[in-house]
């Protein structure tokens, strides 16, 4: 009995850790959704870009982990802004059909993934052992790895910083205004293009943190971005466009996935993810924190 309690605790810790990494990805995705009202499928690409920049910085440039992470955050942020400028800006300036943005983002996601397939090759790469992964005892009940604790703490700090940025700064206020109504925010004198660039930079940088942690957890490969599907599902469970929703949804998903892996079978974890999505859509279609959409006529 004791061993199953220990497994349970361990899977809860693992789940929270995985969920907090999903949260980093889901929050960026939700942020973009709240402003431009489309699913940015290229979001997974930003995560892969972040992962590869970190890998190159550590492996060939010989930087320490802090510099490598900083470089990776900035690089993924810039890549996100460029993606927006190249693929989305011309479309959103001409039409308001979000379907076109959705398709373009799918295209960008394929382009980014396959650039890495061609340039870096499809093989799996492990980051150099700069992030501690040794086991840690918690109150002598459960064992977890230092990496799980670290990723949980870093994710909390990053989300806290985002919260401060959104609630305490002038640009944070502008972003919250734009989430209500982008057009009106523009009429009130907000530089919409700069605002969208800031949003994409933030989303890209958060995805890069997620990318570094995921590439330590699962190794790095061009299709790593596919994991963002789970972050999208988490965002839908929490309510599309809601940042607290994205965080709560991600934690629920991470817990469900890890508990399924621990107690049912590890092949079932992806099915559990999808069942959660269907159950949410059946019971509360707008998600846990979703706004009730009222259409203006």
């Amino acid at each position: 009995m004791r061993s199953s309690v220990a497994t349970f605790l361990q899977q809860v810790i693992n789940g929270l850790s995985l969920g907090s990494v999903y949260a980093l990805i889901a929050v960026g995705y939700s942020l973009v959704y709240s402003i431009l009202l489309f699913s940015n499928f290229a979001h997974g690409g930003f995560l892969v870009i972040g992962g590869y920049i970190c890998y190159v910085a550590l492996k060939t440039m010989g930087l320490n982990i802090w510099m490598a992470s900083l470089l990776s955050l900035v690089g993924a942020g810039i890549a996100a802004v460029l993606t927006e400028r190249i693929a989305y800006k011309p479309i959103r300036e001409r039409t308001n059909v979000t379907l076109y943005l959705l398709i373009a983002s799918m295209g960008m996601s394929i382009v980014i993934e396959n650039i890495f397939v061609i340039v870096a090759g499809g093989r799996f790469r492990a980051l150099p052992p700069v992030i501690p992964t040794h086991p840690v005892q918690i109150f002598n009940i459960a064992t977890t790895s230092a990496f799980d604790l670290l990723s949980f703490v870093v994710a909390l700090v990053a989300l806290g910083c985002l919260q401060l940025f959104l609630s305490r700064t002038k640009w944070g206020l502008a972003i919250r205004a734009a989430a209500c109504d982008l057009r009106t925010a523009g009429l009130m004198g907000v530089n919409v293009n700069l605002l969208i660039a800031i949003v994409f930079f933030t989303a890209g940088a958060l995805a890069a943190i997620g990318g570094i942690f995921l590439s330590v957890r699962y190794t790095l490969y061009p299709q790593l971005g596919v994991i963002t599907i789970k972050a999208f599902v988490a965002a839908v469970i929490g309510g599309l466009g809601s940042l607290p929703g994205a965080v709560v949804g991600s934690l629920i998903l991470g817990l469900a996935e890890m508990l399924a892996a621990g107690f049912i079978s590890s092949q079932m974890r992806d099915l559990v993810v999808f069942s959660l999505l269907v159950i949410t859509l059946l019971i509360k279609p707008t998600g846990l924190f979703g706004k009730q959409m009222s259409e203006k006529i």
């Binding site: 009202l37 479309i91 379907l99 295209g107 960008m108 396959n114 599309l240 993810v273 999808f274 999505l277």
Partner: protein, 288 residues
């Protein structure tokens, strides 16, 4: 006709049937999907299991393949299509992956990831061609019918359409169900063409390819979808040696089309327009 040419034309017919299904949903009803390969997988596996394990004749098996896809699409469509926005797009990815995982893990029925061998090669060229012609005619009649116009109304202005009394949620589900049937039949035909199917053949890349073909051909143009299928299938065959660039080119094409010409190569044009154009040339603009 050589076996190779025959194979290409058969494949073309199969791809065209699946693309018509996706075109109805994305081009005519305005619902973006990234999981339609799953319906192909359902059709393929249903038909394979029925013909191999139960010895049923292939024709009912193919139609039942479409039927299973319809049932699953209905179950998924009712909760997800009531919502606007991108919920369905995300749910469709999740569904696609879930169905592939189930097929991979349900060893006793599907033989898992190793694939399902020994399917009777029932999809000959005449079979594929007749399926294509019949389903194509049905599709062209559908999009020019009352239903086709209702789908377009839902796509162009959801709010106005419901105010005019269209049951928009029901129409969206209907569109999904029909498109799932087309993909299911295409999958069943593919199983009979290749004699061997594997869950990995119906992954997200296949779904993306289906959507890419439709976007490339032009949203809201069935002729464009067929032209798009023709071009993409032939180009894929021609550029087989550089296949690692294929997906990169697909992605870039999606972005470039959305940026430069979101209506695709044949956007807004349809069979009727072509016919009119040909007619006019013949009688020197005599009819108006």
């Amino acid at each position: 006709m050589s076996g190779y040419t025959e194979g290409i034309i058969t494949l073309l017919c199969i791809n065209a049937i699946a693309a018509m299904g996706v075109s109805l949903l994305t081009g005519f009803t305005g619902i973006f999907t990234l999981g339609h390969a799953a319906y192909m997988a359902l059709g393929a596996y249903t038909s394979a299991i029925l013909t191999v394990q139960y010895g049923i004749h292939w024709l009912p098996a193919v139609l039942l393949g479409g039927g299973v896809a319809v049932i699953v699409a209905y179950g998924i469509g009712v909760p997800t299509l009531r919502l606007m926005g991108d919920y369905f797009a995300i749910a469709s990815i999740g569904l696609g992956e879930a169905i592939r995982l189930i097929l991979e893990n349900w060893q006793s029925l599907t033989r898992g990831a190793r694939g399902y061998p020994g399917i009777e090669p029932y999809t000959t060229l005449p079979v594929a061609l007749s399926f294509f012609v019949i389903m194509g005619l049905c599709m062209f009649n559908l999009i020019n019918s009352h239903y086709g116009r209702s789908f377009k109304a839902c796509r162009d202005d959801y709010m106005a359409a419901s105010l005019l009394g269209f049951h928009t949620a029901r129409l969206r589900v209907l569109s999904l169900v029909i498109s799932a049937f087309y993909c299911g039949v295409a999958g069943a035909l593919l199983a009979g063409f290749l004699s061997f199917i594997q869950p990995i053949m119906f992954d997200m890349l296949k779904s993306t390819e289906l959507t890419a073909v439709v976007v490339f051909g032009g949203l809201g143009s069935m002729v464009g979808t067929l032209v798009g299928t023709l071009i993409i299938t032939l180009v894929t065959e021609l550029f087989r040696p550089i296949s690692q660039y294929r997906m990169l080119i697909y992605g870039a094409v999606l972005v470039i089309i959305m940026v430069l010409r979101p209506e695709g190569i044949m956007g807004g044009l349809d069979g009727r327009w072509l016919a009119k154009k040909v007619f006019r040339r013949k009688d020197h603009g005599g009819t108006a």
